[in-house]
């Protein structure tokens, strides 16, 4: 059971669609990924999830964050040259899967090789291959809390080929804008209000030492550049 609800401990198959509308038991929407071989006790109650193995979720999450950012960056500006459909496929994929259709891979340079390694189980295959039938979803699916999160109602977009996450994906433009914004190390919303992209701050060679009100940064130039 690679996914486990962090609230009630219920386990789910890898890629299970059940999680898309929240945990059927408790409605929780945080799931911990348990790598293969991890021992999970399915506890009914508030008992917290069992530990994953040492190679676990943390590195995976960081990698995933980086991959999402990379995907969006390589997917260019909001009106970039990549078809919208393609871009959001990449975005969805970066979350958990590998491309099943060769035509998708040609357009997505950022596909990670290591994503293709894991064997997929039936839940994954089903999640990738099928559209969720309306009766598979809880009857109160488009609830108030979901619309807050801007999920689309089932079947809003019947046209494109079968893609599993379609019916529950967040609004694409908004997500893309958010990730594009996050790509900046520090975004100045207005003087005194800042958003920080920690991965970018960590990754960059230069060191931002002072912010100015007009949005300029003072940086410490790496020695290698300065000496030239």
């Amino acid at each position: 059971m690679p996914h486990q609800c962090t609230d009630c401990g219920r386990g789910f198959d890898d890629g299970s669609k059940e999680m898309l509308s929240g945990c059927p038991n408790c409605g929780g929407n945080k799931f911990q990924y348990q790598p293969e071989g991890a021992d999970i006790s399915e506890t009914p109650d508030a008992e917290p999830p069992e530990p994953p193995g040492p190679d676990s979720t943390v590195a995976r999450t960081v990698g995933k964050t980086a991959a999402s950012v990379r995907d969006f960056v390589s997917g260019s500006a909001p009106d970039g040259d990549r078809p919208a459909e393609q871009s959001h496929l990449d975005a969805d994929r970066s979350a958990d899967s590998q491309p099943s259709d060769p035509s998708h891979t040609s357009g997505s340079p950022s596909t990670e090789p290591d994503r293709t390694s894991a064997a997929e189980d039936s839940a994954q295959a089903s999640a990738r291959g099928d559209i969720v039938e309306p009766d598979e979803l809880p009857s109160d699916a488009p609830s108030a809390s979901e619309s807050e999160h801007q999920f689309r109602p089932v079947g809003a977009d019947p046209d494109p080929p079968a893609e599993p996450e379609q019916e529950d994906r967040p609004d694409l433009e908004e997500l893309r804008a958010e990730l594009n914004d996050q790509f900046e190390s520090i975004k100045v919303l207005e003087p005194g209000q800042y958003e920080l992209n920690l991965m970018e701050l960590y990754d960059r060679e230069e060191y931002i030492i002072a912010l100015q009100e007009d949005g300029h940064y003072s940086i410490q130039v790496p020695e290698t550049i300065r000496s030239e």
Partner: protein, 213 residues
């Protein structure tokens, strides 16, 4: 340019200490704002050197520049471990001056504090990249440890192969749950403590000696 020069000097100093075996290990105290990092740094510094690292406060982002206390000698079982403690600003993805207005602060001061805090986070992230040999990750055990910031930072620390000690601080609070932190980061040992009350500091020092000695 004075700032740049100073900075360059401090970075070269940092680099030189990294490569010398006899020099004390530089241990960064990281964590989200208001986890009690400065309280812990002060507790360690006072216990072993007699003076403090910096002012503590209930207002988030009191520490806006990394502060260092060098050559802190910790004695465990007749063995001496010498470390440099670096107290870093709380790491966060959003800094908003309006948060400080609630703490009786004028807008100008709040905006300045906000800007300095942001610079401080940039500095802390940069230090993490190059200038620390180990990390003490401080979490407030009365709050949810499953956050983007914690997950990302601990992931970065792991990717750097830095030794990391996770401290579940504020066990003196009623809402404290050490187990919640153990569950969130089961791949690491979690040590409970109250830096404010000085509870369980003996075990903390044992572990510091074990991890960073």
């Amino acid at each position: 340019m004075g700032l740049l020069t100073n900075l360059k000097d401090s970075i070269s100093r940092a680099a030189s200490t990294l490569f010398s075996e006899e020099d004390p290990k530089r241990i960064g105290i990281y964590g989200p704002p208001n986890a009690g990092k400065t309280t812990l740094a002060n507790r360690i510094a006072r216990d072993w050197t007699g003076d403090a690292v910096g002012p503590e406060s209930h207002v988030p982002h009191e520490t806006r520049r990394a502060r260092r206390k060098e050559n802190v000698e910790i004695e465990r079982d007749g063995k001496k471990v010498t470390i440099d403690i670096v107290d870093t600003p709380g790491v966060t993805t959003k800094v908003d001056y309006t948060e400080f207005l609630e703490h009786d602060m004028e807008k100008d001061d709040a905006v300045r504090r906000s800007r300095e805090a942001t610079e401080g986070v940039a500095e802390a992230m940069h230090w993490l990249r190059e200038d620390v040999d180990g990390v003490i990750y401080v979490l407030d055990s009365a709050t949810d440890p499953f956050t983007q910031v914690n997950t990302m930072l601990i992931g970065i620390i792991e990717s750097q192969d830095l030794p990391v000690l996770i401290l579940a601080n504020k066990i003196d609070l009623e809402e404290s749950s050490v187990q919640r932190i153990r569950n969130a980061y089961p791949q690491h040992e979690t040590i409970p403590l109250s830096a404010l009350e000085g509870d369980n500091m003996d075990e903390v020092y044992d572990k510091i000696a074990e991890y960073f000695g």
